[in-house]
């Protein structure tokens, strides 16, 4: 890379974000190495460098260096350009911020929280995978990482509405529910968008999309660009305020949920004036309220918990509740739920092309898990997981089917036009 690496900026940025719990995490690690067993990257590669605790080394060093009395005595170990270069790959390509290592750590250290903060420091130093950073910049400049501008959104929604003979409201003046989308869905899995519309129409709620704030994915957040992360959040918050939405629904995207549900208020500095629900949580709520009429779905399926929705999002039970009495041949993987293995592409890793081989290796864990259940199709509630799994599936020429939770629900709504088939 020709751009000089700014070690000082990295240190400064990390220190600016130093908070009590992060430092306590850094100082408490007993280097027991158990977290290696929980991380899918280590499981897939067997490379000791993929041990979660190791990923934090430069950050721990940066913090120690400035601490009294070491700094005062001039004994603090300084982080070097070499550290930053080596760890760039570890912090971006080999951490999906999935939180699985937290579940095994005897000290209860939440590595993912620190990695998220560490990424900001690396970006400030002029590091970070170019494609991931470009996705963030595109979100800022065009409204979405895949370049879906407001006009493109309008075109695409009109096309989808025509094609599927369905009403997809955009920019209604007032609505109770503001629906957001992920551009991965818009471009690669448009049926998912149609499915959300079908479910909302079926439930008879007052909803809309908004051209002011539609992109739910937050690549600013994933790429460690705090300003873009905040901008993406502001767009949705402004749109929600404009239509007076009481609830903002996040599509099938785990990190989008995490960013708006848990981080947004802290980025903005005030509580959000609406409730944020992931589409699976929202559908579970509709089901509880008796607003979802479903025909039984009989194909054999298993469910992949998106890390940010289940383990780190607390919606593990909602997906099960939706599948209960609906998916008649639902089989759990082992392990599942809060201990589910990650798809390998979360936390922005999907957007890093040089990490592809590693992602493929990680997916082998999943293939194995699915095969053990004997289920024909692997359903998920995250289009980013789905894209990662689709690509890995192609790589391994895997026969298993992939699908989406909202799509199987939408396809089996009773009375929902145009058809109530059993397709995935």
């Amino acid at each position: 890379m020709t751009v000089p690496i700014d070690v000082k900026a990295a240190t400064r940025t990390f220190l600016a974000h130093v908070e009590e719990h992060l430092v306590t995490y850094l100082e408490a690690c007993v280097h027991c190495g158990q977290c290696a067993d929980a991380c899918h990257f280590h499981e897939a590669s067997g490379d000791p460098r993929h041990t979660p605790a190791y990923k934090l080394f430069p950050i721990a060093k940066a913090y120690r260096a400035q601490k009294w009395p070491l700094s005062w005595l001039g004994l603090g170990p300084a982080i070097t350009e070499r550290d930053l270069k080596e760890w760039e790959e570890l912090l971006f390509d080999t951490c999906t911020l999935c939180g699985r290592c937290t579940t095994i750590c005897p000290m209860g250290i939440d590595i993912a929280s620190i990695v998220g903060t560490a990424r900001q420091a690396f970006v400030k130093a002029g590091l970070g995978p170019t494609d991931l950073l470009a996705a963030a910049d595109s979100s800022r400049d065009h409204g979405s990482p895949l370049g879906v501008t407001a006009e493109k959104l309008k075109d695409r929604l009109e096309w989808l509405a025509d094609e599927h003979e369905i009403n997809i409201p955009l920019d209604k003046d007032k609505a109770d529910i503001l629906l957001t989308v992920s551009s991965i869905e818009l471009m690669k899995y448009p049926d998912s968008v149609v499915s959300m519309a079908k479910v909302l129409n079926h439930a008879g709620v007052n909803w809309t999309l908004s051209s002011k704030g539609y992109e739910a994915t937050n690549f600013g957040y994933l790429a460690g660009k705090a300003d873009i992360a905040k901008l993406m959040v502001e767009r949705i918050v402004d749109a929600a305020k404009l239509v007076g939405a009481k609830t903002v629904v996040i599509p099938e995207c785990g990190h989008a949920y995490s960013a708006l549900r848990w981080s947004a208020a802290n980025m903005l500095g005030y509580p959000l004036p609406f409730t944020v629900l992931h589409i699976s949580e929202y559908m579970a709520q509709l089901k509880r309220e008796g607003k979802l009429k479903l025909a039984p779905f009989t194909q054999s399926i298993t469910y992949h918990d998106p890390c940010q929705v289940s383990r780190r999002g607390g919606a593990t039970a909602d997906a099960r509740y939706l599948l209960q009495d609906f998916a008649t041949d639902f089989r759990e993987m082992t392990p599942t739920g809060n201990l589910n293995w990650c798809c390998g592409g979360g936390g922005g890793v999907q957007a890093i092309s040089r990490a592809a081989d590693l992602r493929y290796k990680v997916f082998k864990i999943k293939m194995d898990q699915v095969e053990k259940t004997g289920a024909k199709t692997l359903i998920s509630a995250c289009s980013n997981c789905r894209l990662t799994m689709d690509e890995s599936k192609a790589h391994w020429k895997w026969e298993g089917g992939l699908g989406s939770l909202v799509e199987i629900i939408a396809d089996n709504l009773v009375e929902a036009p145009p058809s109530a088939g059993n397709g995935v």
């Binding site: 306590t24 190495g33 158990q34 067993d37 593990t316 201990l339």
Partner: protein, 219 residues
């Protein structure tokens, strides 16, 4: 002043002071760091902060079933030397006398033969921990000087204590002095490195428990 006088007197007093001030300094400097106010909405039905903290602590006492195959041995070994150390420190009659003189409280002691067994088992367990650290590729990579120093200052008092009790190699008074000095070393090192985890574990586990509980997650 004999070596024993020195060990019992100035050495130990200095070590106590370093330990108390060191631990206090470490904890205060952590707790004084900024803490951002959490502004996101908690999940409806999330447990109270108190129960979240307790649950967080308890949940990480033992690995979940999915992890047991890989972690059972290390976890058991960890428990063996932690409990072994506790039995030795709080169970031996002579140690209880020290606590009595420091805090004015005492409790019934355990038979010294049992303490000896505990010490041998603890020592073996510490050796196993070291061998694992030196042989597992993951542990070798992530181990730093800090880990080895912590191991050394923890193991030394166990060895010197065993020697003192068995009167091996030197006059009892000398052995006792060496044992006390090794404890002084442990106390002096304690606040500045990995041994602090004995206190920090209460912050990390509870903190993580609270972090996830408000999200409605159970980890």
């Amino acid at each position: 002043m004999t070596l024993l006088d020195f060990a019992r007197g100035p050495a130990l007093s200095f070590a106590y002071a370093v330990f108390v001030f060191g631990v206090a300094w470490r904890l205060v400097s952590l707790l004084l760091l900024p803490r951002n106010k959490e502004l996101s909405q908690a999940k409806p039905g999330a447990p109270s902060v108190f129960s979240a903290a307790v649950l967080g602590f308890v949940r990480h006492l033992w690995p979940q079933k999915a992890y047991l195959r890989g972690t059972l041995f290390a976890t058991l070994n960890g428990y063996v030397f932690h409990l072994g150390l506790a039995i030795i420190v709080f169970g031996l009659a002579q140690h209880i006398l020290v606590f009595q003189s420091l805090f004015g409280i005492n409790w019934p002691n355990l038979p010294s033969s049992l303490i000896s067994v505990a010490a041998v088992v603890t020592l073996a367990s510490l050796v196993v921990a070291l061998v694992r650290r030196l042989t597992s590729p993951v542990l070798r990579l992530i181990s730093t000087g800090n880990d080895y120093i912590a191991w050394f200052v923890t193991t030394l008092p166990v060895i010197t204590g065993l020697l003192a009790v068995s009167h091996l190699g030197a006059p009892y008074e000398t052995l006792l002095a060496i044992h006390i000095l090794s404890i002084a070393l442990l106390l002096i090192v304690f606040p500045f490195g990995k041994l602090m985890h004995a206190f920090l574990v209460f912050l990390t586990r509870t903190g993580t428990g609270i972090f996830y509980a408000r999200r409605g997650a159970e980890i």
